[in-house]
């Protein structure tokens, strides 16, 4: 009986697999069994989940920039070497306290352009960020600033240029870049030229134009590629391309100075879209209804619920 059972399974498997013909299979099964199996298979084989020919447009995936779109890099040009980097640094607290310190800060929703002491470099501070340096940081060909938050920095002249943070240092090997700071991570994005980022435990990564990497939980994540010339936040709008909701909410909070009560909503959800930097109610309308999230704004606190 046991044996018979196993044999039948084997026959069934071979038949379903097309290894033996229906006639052959029929010999080993009872009429009733065979016809029932045939009827079941005949019906299921006709099934299809839906009649759509395309599940989704592959182009949507290929165009997903913010999360590290990969593009083929254009052929090298020797011409001008300009390095542009975005560094996102997530740090617990500020490091640099010194007497002869020059400091610039931005409020929520504010961006600010500042000239640096070498006369040619500039920094654009993002919302709720702080840059500082000492005079000694700019002597003997040294150029060094420290940063909390996020900034885009242009360094047109070659030479060393270091951005120091608690999480590590980013050195420009070319000329133009951005730095940003959040919690316990360092994000380096190179828009042009090359940049070297070194974590506090001396792990180094070099990035070329169109590459970014995130230092998080002790490692530099593999390079991601993108193809935009400037970070989105320099413009009037903040653009998200399939960004995790967590990131969207952080940007909202930092740009508008909000406290956000996320309740039980799922932060892993993705948002694609663009929000203005100076219109909170419009921003909220853009983000949440599309995700099926309801919101309530009260005393600068945003309450979210499904």
């Amino acid at each position: 009986m046991e044996n018979n059972h196993t044999d039948k399974d084997a026959i069934l498997a071979q038949w379903l697999n097309g290894d033996i013909s229906a006639e052959e299979a029929k010999k080993h099964l009872s009429d009733d069994e065979f016809l029932k199996y045939q009827q079941i298979i005949g019906e299921v084989d006709e099934w299809i989940p839906d009649t759509d020919t395309q599940i989704f447009d592959p182009q949507e995936v290929l165009n997903s920039k913010k999360e590290g779109k990969v593009i083929k890099l254009v052929s090298w040009k020797y011409a001008s070497v300009a390095a542009a980097i975005v560094l996102a640094i997530f740090v617990g607290q500020s490091l640099w306290q010194s007497l002869s310190m020059i400091e610039h800060q931005t409020a929520f929703g504010e961006t600010k352009s500042i000239d640096l002491p070498d006369g040619t470099s500039t920094i654009i501070l993002s919302a709720n960020s702080e840059v500082s340096w000492k005079k000694s940081d700019w002597r003997k060909g040294k150029r060094r600033i420290s940063l909390k938050g996020k900034a885009y920095i242009e360094v047109p002249e070659k030479g060393s240029f270091d951005v120091v943070t608690q999480e590590g240092t980013v050195s420009v090997l070319g000329t133009r870049f951005v730095v940003h700071q959040i919690e316990q991570a360092l994000h380096a994005v190179c828009y042009e030229g090359r940049v070297r980022a070194t974590s506090k435990d001396n792990k180094t990564i070099e990035l070329s134009k169109g590459e970014s990497s995130l230092f998080f939980e002790g490692i530099w994540n593999p390079k991601k590629l993108f193809n935009i010339d400037y970070p989105e936040w320099i413009k009037d709008h903040i653009t998200f391309d399939n960004a995790p909701l967590k990131l969207v909410i952080d940007e909202l909070a930092s740009n508008y100075g909000l406290t956000i009560e996320i309740g039980s909503i799922n932060l892993a959800r993705r948002f694609t879209g663009s929000i203005p930097k100076d219109n909170l109610s419009q921003s909220l309308k853009i983000i949440f209804p599309t995700l099926g999230i309801t919101y309530r704004l009260e005393d600068n606190t945003l309450y979210l619920s499904e």
Partner: protein
């Protein structure tokens, strides 16, 4: 000759053409929601694209299935699955004429079968439907899901046997 890289748009598009539907279908068979299946399939492709330098071309398929499966599990509070299917074309009429020996009641058969299939254990069900609907070879299914061909075979035959047993029971009581 370099190995084919997933980072090449063309390679990626090929992967999409080859696997998007079967991936979406797998998620649907397993979890039941067509819309969510689509979203998770797309998200798996996004993650593949983001990690294209880390994933070898010949590993892309199992990356997609593993990733999509995990995304779905992370995302879903598990609900009871009730699968509904369309038919490729309405062949029912023709079929019942050419096949007069239907033992199960033809009128309700599709509905009954959908219910019975929905009640199969989800892994079994997914494998069975990938084999029958998507016409995937046992080896292809095994590769995608990271299980042995023997297991695939077992899932398929067990599915068919329990479908029959359930239908028998259903018909026995409904008469």
């Amino acid at each position: 000759m370099d190995k084919l890289s997933v980072c090449e748009e063309q390679a990626f598009t090929t992967l999409h053409q080859t696997h998007a539907t079967s991936l979406r279908n797998f998620l649907f068979y397993r979890f039941g929601s067509l819309e969510k299946a689509k979203d998770c399939a797309q998200e798996a492709f996004v993650r593949l694209w983001n990690n294209c330098s880390k994933v070898a071309f010949d590993k892309a398929k199992s990356f997609l299935f593993t990733t999509a499966n995990r995304i779905f599990l992370d995302d879903t509070a598990h609900q009871k699955v009730i699968l509904k299917f369309e038919r490729r074309s309405d062949t029912r009429e023709a079929q019942s004429e050419t096949n007069p020996e239907f033992l199960y009641q033809v009128d309700e058969f599709k509905g009954q079968l959908e219910t019975v299939v929905s009640n199969l254990p989800e892994k079994q069900r997914a494998v069975f439907l990938m084999s029958r609907i998507d016409k995937m070879k046992n080896q292809e299914i095994a590769d995608a899901l990271g299980i042995s061909v023997k297991t695939v075979e077992k899932h398929i035959t067990s599915s068919l046997k329990s479908i029959k047993a359930d239908l028998d029971e259903l018909n026995h009581f409904s008469i």
